[in-house]
């Protein structure tokens, strides 16, 4: 659902009901409100007197909404100082969300804070009988996010990549993605060659009725250069893929135009942040540059 339906984009402050320290730099705040957000959507988070920035929803279970954030600059440093009971402004949910078919196989790729919104995807998708390969990447073991929660999900396979090899595969999470796609493709070819349906491919551990539901989709959230690599892999292998893009946001609901991407002029806040790879492939600025708050191009 897009923000337009609600006809209200004025932030309201809500109380923080719990805080979880995920790593040295990352915290999850849970608020005393549900905004009915879907996985992939974001909210504008306002700290009165400081700033307002976009944050993906890391959970909205109908009772409480959470965000999981990295401490990177002024606003997030101030936000990190908040305590249970403090008031933080929220407006949203904003933007597009991920969609899947019942029983579908999903490959989720997460880097940086991306593990949080991707966990929200997995949590909802398994309720729809989806099977999930969940690839989480970080620089080292102690920076991995949400891995304990992911391990507890049904029908979900966790794959870990760390740059330093302190846990899981040593290298990039995109390398695991390539491997999974290749396994899947080669076994599909094998089975179609032997006249069998592809329902037992390694990535389709659950049998499904609908043929389309066996087609895997790749969803990814993380640093843009990671997304770019995933976009290339999925385009080459002709795998359906949706990516969570990030651009500097002001309004968050399609008015100011600060988050427009060249050359199509689509607004990441309204036409995204979840954007199909087919569209991403047409965005020449994807993986090349973004714009600051003045609209000036900044190379990645």
């Amino acid at each position: 659902m897009s923000c337009g339906c609600k006809k209200n984009n004025v932030p309201k402050t809500y109380k923080i009901v719990s805080i979880k320290k995920e790593t040295e730099q990352v915290q999850t705040f849970t608020f005393d409100v549900s905004l009915g957000a879907r996985p992939g959507q974001f909210v504008m988070v306002w700290l009165p007197g400081v700033d307002e920035v976009p944050m993906s929803v890391s959970m909205d279970d109908g009772k409480n909404l959470s965000i999981t954030f990295f401490q990177v600059g002024d606003m997030t440093t101030e936000l990190a100082k908040c305590k249970v009971g403090d008031l933080v402004g929220l407006r949203g949910p904003l933007g597009t969300h991920y969609e899947w078919k019942k029983g579908q196989h999903l490959i989720l790729v997460a880097g940086g804070y991306g593990a949080a919104p991707m966990y929200f995807v997995a949590n909802e998708a398994v309720k729809d009988e989806c099977t999930v390969d969940f690839i989480v990447g970080a620089r080292s073991k102690d920076l991995l996010l949400y891995t304990d929660e992911i391990k507890k999900l049904e029908n979900t396979n966790l794959h870990i990549a760390t740059d330093d090899g302190s846990e899981g595969h040593k290298g990039y999470n995109t390398e695991i993605l390539e491997k999974l796609i290749n396994q899947r493709l080669s076994s599909t070819e094998r089975q179609s060659a032997s006249g069998e349906a592809s329902k037992n491919t390694p990535l389709d551990s659950t049998p499904c009725e609908e043929p389309h539901s066996r087609k895997a989709s790749v969803f990814a959230c993380g640093p843009e250069m990671m997304l770019k690599r995933i976009s290339d892999i999925c385009a080459e292998e002709e795998v359906t893929c949706f990516l969570s893009l990030e651009r500097y946001m002001k309004c968050g609901y399609g008015l100011c135009g600060n988050c427009c991407m060249d050359p199509l002029g689509i607004r990441v806040c309204k036409d995204g942040p979840v954007i199909s790879n087919d569209i991403c492939r047409q965005l020449t600025e994807f993986g090349a540059y973004h714009r600051d708050e003045l609209g000036r191009k900044k190379k990645f």
Binding site: V10, P11, P48, R91, G254, C260, G265, R291, G295
Partner: protein, 325 residues
């Protein structure tokens, strides 16, 4: 009027104003979806009759921190603070808009482009006018009326006859045969007098209105103003009656001699016709994009045509300024 298949009459919305061909009277208002050439093209593709850029400065200008824009179904408040990277970016984006579309050549330009300019001094206005005129936009709009940079810049030039006229003259010195619209503020005692002053100083047209107020919105629980700038300009549905009255005043004060881009709270075809009856030849649409989506331009045009057909209007000239006749 064109007659389709002999049954359906569809009013033509095309006009030639100051030598510019407008396929329809809708104009994207300044500051909305206005940062990049790709955004302008996207709005043009969605049926706008013309595009206005976000205000372009003679030098880099920082805006206000977020929150900068908030809306509900009645109004928006904005204190974006006119951020802009300066002339180099303006050159690049305008040149890109003028060139062929990089992906869809068939969508290449020729939806007229109105370059909106701003500065904090008469000299600065002259400078940016010179830079922009070299890029040959179809028209130039002069923003002397933004209410949300008052702390920094003082009362807008649009609040005083000599200031408004002075800026107009400074701009006109550099713009050659490019038509110049001066954008006025509703937040004055007598907008008609200001309109007369800028037309006297050479303005070819008027845009009315910029945002109203400023206004303030407060979060109850934190007991704090929501906008970081505390106050911001009011736009959207709530300001339409003010915009209609201001256009009527401008039209009357200038004897209907110059075209007016009537802007403020225009959401529907009926809103557009209403502000045209007050004296507007073109209608600016901004905030309504949130409410009715990017299709708002097409929808407004369809609704205008339908109303005109149902009410036996054959040409927009029958509507424009009708309250004064």
């Amino acid at each position: 009027m064109i007659v389709l298949a002999g049954i359906l009459n569809v009013m033509e919305l095309k006009q030639n104003i100051l030598g510019i061909e407008f396929t329809n009277p809708t104009v994207l208002a300044s500051g909305i979806w206005g940062v990049t050439a790709s955004g302008w093209r996207c709005v043009a593709k969605n049926g706008a009759g013309a595009i206005t850029t976000k205000s372009l400065w003679d030098k880099e200008h920082k805006g206000h921190p977020n929150p900068t824009i908030i809306s509900n179904e009645y109004w928006s408040l904005n204190a974006v603070g006119i951020p802009d990277a300066g002339p180099e970016k303006a050159r690049e984006e305008i040149a890109s808009y003028m060139a062929d579309h990089p992906v869809y050549p068939e969508q290449s330009r020729r939806t007229p482009l109105v370059a909106n300019i701003v500065s904090n001094s008469k000299e600065g206005f002259g400078e940016i006018a010179k830079v922009i005129a070299e890029l040959k936009p179809d028209a130039i709009e002069v923003n002397i009326s933004c209410p949300n940079v008052e702390d920094e810049l003082g009362k807008p030039f649009a609040c005083s006859k000599p200031d408004a006229a002075g800026v107009t003259e400074a701009v006109k010195k550099h713009t050659g045969d490019i038509p110049v619209f001066v954008k006025l503020s509703p937040n004055v005692n007598n907008i008609g007098e200001i309109a007369k002053a800028v037309v006297g100083a050479g303005a070819d047209g008027i845009t009315a209105i910029n945002t109203v107020g400023p206004g303030m919105a407060i979060d109850l629980k934190s007991r704090k103003p929501i906008l970081s700038n505390r106050v911001g300009g009011l736009s959207g549905r709530a300001i339409k009656p003010v915009a209609v009255r201001c256009v009527a005043d401008c039209y009357k004060a200038t004897d209907g001699k110059v075209p007016i881009i009537g802007t403020g709270g225009i959401y529907t075809g009926e809103d557009a016709l209403e502000i045209m009856m007050a004296g507007a030849s073109l209608v600016g649409i901004g905030t309504a994009i949130w409410d009715r989506g990017e299709e708002v331009f097409k929808k407004v045009c369809e609704e205008m045509s339908e109303w005109c057909d149902a009410n036996d209007v054959k040409d927009l000239s029958e509507i424009i300024g009708s309250i004064h006749k």
